[in-house]
């Protein structure tokens, strides 16, 4: 069984440019999470989806971040415009019934 797939693995962009990350969760998992992991820190939740509905986006900086999960499967996280402080690893995870989250390998974003 394939795990959570994220792309790209690495991304370097200049500040003020847009960027997008893609996530394909484990087949059948209804819950999808986007976490951000700053250097030397644990992951912090940005947004959680139940199927196609965003049920917890309280930590998502909505002025520049947006996310979508069309048809309750794949998801895209976008930043526009990116700032230097957005440099981090963006992790996607999925779970079935919310008990155990399976993580992708992450996208390391560097904003210069």
């Amino acid at each position: 069984e394939a795990g959570v797939v994220q792309s790209p693995r690495y991304k370097i962009i200049e500040k003020k440019q847009p960027v997008a990350f893609w996530c394909n969760p484990i087949s059948g998992h209804n819950t999808l999470y986007w976490y951000r992991q700053n250097l030397g820190q644990g992951p912090e939740l940005l947004i959680r989806y139940e199927n196609e509905e965003a049920v917890d986006d309280s930590q998502l900086p909505k002025d520049r971040f947006s996310a979508e999960r069309l048809k309750g499967v794949d998801s895209t996280l976008k930043i526009q415009p990116a700032e230097l402080g957005d440099s981090a690893v963006y992790l996607c995870a999925s779970s079935l019934e919310g008990l155990e989250a399976f993580f992708g390998q992450g996208t390391r974003l560097t904003v210069v």
Partner: protein, 111 residues
């Protein structure tokens, strides 16, 4: 809101020595607890979890953890570490349907 404290940011040990990575969480109500491992440039992999039942939980790669409700702790242990255990370890507690993570403990196993 839940919080997780990992008391040691770095733990150096020699190969074949025992190790304990400490984790305390804030809530005294029923919680689910997890330990994840992160190898360099990789995502997080679940080591073990406590949902209910026995307070001693066994996970992959020879790791185990003990849930102590009175001390709100969930310390991770391994009796004999290998070089390949060098990684960062994260303790996490459930808060509703999301996980709240500690800041991580970097375990370095030296030959």
């Amino acid at each position: 809101a839940q919080s997780v404290t990992q008391l040691d940011s770095q733990v150096p040990v020699f190969e074949e020595a025992p190790v304990e990575l400490r984790c305390n969480y804030s809530s005294s109500v029923s919680v689910y607890l997890f330990w994840y491992v992160q190898y360099p440039n990789q995502g997080l992999q679940l080591l073990l979890k406590y949902l209910s039942g026995s307070t001693l939980v066994k996970g992959i790669n020879g790791f185990e953890a003990e849930f102590n409700k009175s001390q709100t702790s969930f310390h991770l242990r391994k009796p004999s570490v290998h070089i390949s255990d060098t990684a960062e370890y994260f303790c996490a507690v459930s808060e509703g349907e999301k996980l709240v993570f500690g800041k991580g403990t970097k375990l370095t196993v030296n030959p």
